[in-house]
Amino acid sequence: MSAFGIASNSNPNKSTEVVSPPSDSVSSLSFSPKANYLVATSWDNQVRCWEITKSGTTVGSVGKASIAHDQPVLCSAWKDDGTTVFSGGCDKQVKMWPLLSGGQPVTVAMHDAPVKEVAWIPEMNLLVSGSWDKTLRYWDLRQANPVHTQQLPERCYALTVRHPLMVVGTADRNLIVFNLQNPQTEFKRITSPLKYQTRCVAAFPDQQGFLVGSIEGRVGVHHLDDQQQSKNFTFKCHREGNDIYSVNSLNFHPVHHTFATAGSDGAFNFWDKDSKQRLKAMSRCNQPIPCSSFNNDGSIYAYAVCYDWSKGAENHNPATAKTCIYLHLPQESEVKGKPRIGTSGRK
């Protein structure tokens, strides 16, 4: 692999490519919580769904259905029963797509600016959407108006929900923590432990804290309780030589509670925050990875390889840019935490 720039191979990890990929960059990937259905939203205004078939170590994909927005789509989320997909984007709305029943998409949420994040909160039977209009809005899907609008200090960039914990990352490095049992008041507002723009957040599966990733190739591990502040740390990743790439995606493994990071350098890594180890470093693809997702049992890791705009417009050649979605089957050693051996400290 070249030491400079990005490797030439789009698929150095020999992952399985998803058939009929989007024609422009992927902005979000979401697996159904119930079955191996994968949804991708993309800059070509589409929301596509594939069925992922897996038998043993072979994995395949079948394109199932798609819907269109009027403008690029930025985010997606599944309802907890796996029947319905929500997608939001630059058309400033969220569409509800009852794809399992073959129903038509309907608009269920509106904002004054593009919708960057959307999440379904099963415990509340509500949808939450975060937008660049500096609001969070909660929707009960049958009313045209939000049941609640929460003002944010800045544009919403990232959001994660593990009821009752919700963490919202905004521009200007604000991180706002909500206790969804009392969603109308901020539980806590902090400045990101990272010194650069927030890119992604992921709540711990045990709801005791969250991860935050920034454009400066760094991840912060942050605990909420005052007693546990001493456990907080940050670490560097997705860097190559003098170039520091953005951390674009953070996903906890649904079973082992380790996590994956993916970045603009085209690499994805698996980590264990508790033993502070990198479990596996995968080879870099020739383009950035803007988003990724584990399936419901953590046996499949889907990641998109396409241009994420990290090098601006002049480094984007629409004629040659290729968008791929790959499926990686993580081995247990890659995603299962292990004790730290040789605790003699840092070298």
């Binding site: 415990e123 039977n125 005791q208 400066e216 001493s230 740390f233 350098d265 705009w309 051996i341 840092r346």
Partner: protein
Amino acid sequence: MGKKKKRVSSDVWCYYCDREFDDEKILVQHQKAKHFKCHVCHKKLSTAGGMAIHVLQVHKETVSKVPNAKDGRESTDIEIYGMQGIPPDVLAAHYGEEDDNPSKVGKLEVPSSQVGIIPGYPPSTMPSIYNPGLAVPRAGWPAPPRPPQPWFPQHPVGSVPPTAPLGMVPQPLFPVQTMRPPTAPPGLPTSFPVASPVSQPLFPVVSTNGMPSQTSPYSAPTSIPLPSPSDLITTDPHNINMPRAYLTPGFQGGVTASHSYASGPNTGGPSIGPPPVIANKAPAIQPATNEVYLVWDDEAMSMEERRMSLPKYQVHDETSQMSSIDAAIDRRISEGRLAGRMAF
């Protein structure tokens, strides 16, 4: 092992925000990035006055306050460059304040002698309430330590779902009037948003299927390969030894001390509007220093926001679309258009 650098109270610090630095060179970079940056075009100037004049002459706006400065230190009239130009009274006050710090340090619960052994994991005198892999029921929350509300206690795996725990009355999440659609069609079930808050337990029921059942990663078989040293997460010593550091905005050690971040050659100048000029230059051009480059270095805008401003992604109503984004961003975009700098 451990941290070599002893933290002596730094004598390099920023006049505007009191943040401390190991090196004046880094301080100057900090000031350029945080306090002397033009809010319109993000050009980094060398002094507050220079920035004000730039904004006045180039953008026809007046800047009277230094951005990100503490109250009382926002004046653009005082010429500060690194440690130079700080008024003597402020200088004296700062060092007086420094003497108070030992009490602050004393609050840290991490004995520094232990830190090196397992960074970030202070020897705990109470049972770990942290390790999510442990299937041992926790003995509740260790007596609420301080007035600030504690975060939820973790639920023991496999515990009986708490039915109305602690006798608390479930509270509606949103005001009643907004919970039920006032004009709800009679045909629709009315239990919708109302039902869930009412049946809401105060504390979450952690579903057991999401947790590893008895598979503690710590009882690992011996066949597990040893991690190579490079796989150990290298944490920032500052964040370990000073765990509360980032809670006090005035102190942020860490990264900047180890290397300097430079902007790409083009981002130093007025980079108005899309297309962005991002620092990703061929490494060969770079001098052989340990300067590193953020591939995406626009703090004011995310990649998606920049991408969206491309005409290709704008459909019909680009005026209304733009109206919702910050005025500053609008300006940058339209200036970019006027200047004909749009790609394609």
